[in-house]
Symmetry: C2
Subunit: 369 residues, 2 copies
Amino acid sequence: MTQIAPETTEVGLPITEVDTPALYVDLDALEHNIATMARVCADHGVAWRPHVKASKSPDLARRLIAGGATGITCAKVSEAEVMADGGVDDILIANEVVGPRKVGRLVDLARRARICVAVDDERNLREISAAVSAAGATVDVLLDINVGANRCGVTPEVAPALAQLALDLPGVAFRGLMGYEGHVMGVTDPEEKEAKSAAAADVFAQARRQVETAGIEVRVMSGGGTGNYWIASRLGSLNELQAGGGVLLDQTYEGPMTGPGPRQALFLVAQVISTAVPGRAVADAGWKASGQHTGRPLAVDPPGIRVRNLNAEHTLFDLDEGVRLELGQRVTMVPHYSDSTVLLHRRMYAVRNGIVEEVWPVAGAGMLQ
Amino acid sequence: MTQIAPETTEVGLPITEVDTPALYVDLDALEHNIATMARVCADHGVAWRPHVKASKSPDLARRLIAGGATGITCAKVSEAEVMADGGVDDILIANEVVGPRKVGRLVDLARRARICVAVDDERNLREISAAVSAAGATVDVLLDINVGANRCGVTPEVAPALAQLALDLPGVAFRGLMGYEGHVMGVTDPEEKEAKSAAAADVFAQARRQVETAGIEVRVMSGGGTGNYWIASRLGSLNELQAGGGVLLDQTYEGPMTGPGPRQALFLVAQVISTAVPGRAVADAGWKASGQHTGRPLAVDPPGIRVRNLNAEHTLFDLDEGVRLELGQRVTMVPHYSDSTVLLHRRMYAVRNGIVEEVWPVAGAGMLQ
């Protein structure tokens, strides 16, 4: 491989001198956002277990834990493997893990980290119990409750029997309930967001009552996302918040996150590669470097340019009257959605005051299976 | 890493037993498509230099060359590096390569493969010439002509002076002209596609005339994509076709490719992970496993299910009356667009009659800089 090894050569460089397209995290903004989210959770007496699905970086995960997180949340086994490889030892997989291959990997994970997994099916619970107990290991279990997103999760009525089964089976330790208010996250109207969060909280509370009425202790009530965590944390039904994407912010989270005052922390630097077509400039970050199914990146520097369109490998800019971009000039943009952008990159630069402090592998990128 | 090493364990398995989500290429269909595209080019007496931007796999690139391609086309330096690492030795980078870092890597590439690069700017041509000649190397150069996509490329009037400069400068060998009919690829109406292809061919021909009138020999006329190559190859202005994405086919290419009869070759296998919500089934391939900015994947097996929506890690299916999916059941889909899907994966399975024959690293995935 002739590719430059940035881990050893690029620390200390201005981010504008790094090869493009370059994805970077502004450390001052990241630290502000981590402190803000941790404080909101602490103020309401709830634990913070931020999701790392967007960042996929063990380096960033360790900063979350240093900043007050009690552990992390992952979307799938492969993310959890990458995090365990990076030294994270308390991981919730907030999703169903099904089938002999995936459950086999869950067993391996349980041997080297504290692992909790979501369950919404009796057969799946038995499958996990059999594999984990045969290996002499234990995984914690949260019952996944459908709190309105209608994706995964059981109704509150089903919860007591499933909780009892989790108590009775070997290899699995029933810990409590979780749910994901996916239908609330993108809501921008404050009243509607409040109302939908409250309705989800009611379902959470109802499920808890049903399980406790059956004489089963519920220790963990886990949920909430970046789009509603400051509401969910004060509604009283949850004692653990999974919101994590907000530490990077982006255009997608910015609208719904009117409350806690996060700062943009994720930026993409591109380089102008063509100015041959009059009135147009083209840079080298297309939708293969910046997910666009939710929208386009926003150009923030230099002023006077707007992203007109993305092709696979090209950013097409419209230029304000009198503005000209030069060949090789750097352009900085805010990605529209961190979740669909970070996974396209193999590394993120950790930058303070414009200088690269660290290079973080996006270790989970491409780890799909 | 506890992840299963599929290169050693999964060859010989049915693709339905591989861990999910699993992206696979049907080798019979791939070979049919390679033969079809190679034959169309051969029938018209034009060279075939297929683009590998979608597949990013040196294993697939070597099959293209074995199937009649004279070399390959890449979108950027990092793709070319991955292909050179994989033993491909004749590479066109059909895009502008700008700035000291990228040009430095171009020089490294020129030391180990025959490299041709697109140029649309005098300063850029001088920059490449200086770096390449200082290293005692040579790169071939094609002038990038704007044939209607209005992205990169010069007008025919500018071509003779730039061609002459490329002839005069050391380290660069002027070879001819290229262009990309990006505005033609998605056109589905046959008459409109023919007309726009013809207009682009006129610009190509005009640029060639202008350069030849200046006494400069034009050896290579390179262009065309999967969405128009069977037209472009008979219009007479090109002698090299860059169309390559069609070997994988997908829903995006299927519509516009009414001519040559390609077969679906790229499939995504997911596993059902939740059936808890009545009337719904959820599998484990979301938009992090299947790009969706152009559209959603199409479920092809089992029958009676439709992709309702993708979340980041979830496929949500609607089920026809009486259809039921079981936990752990495999679902096969055709991705909407290979270009936005393959790069999300680190490997593709090469499958024949349902059995894994080879595992191909998607070596270029995440190689953005």
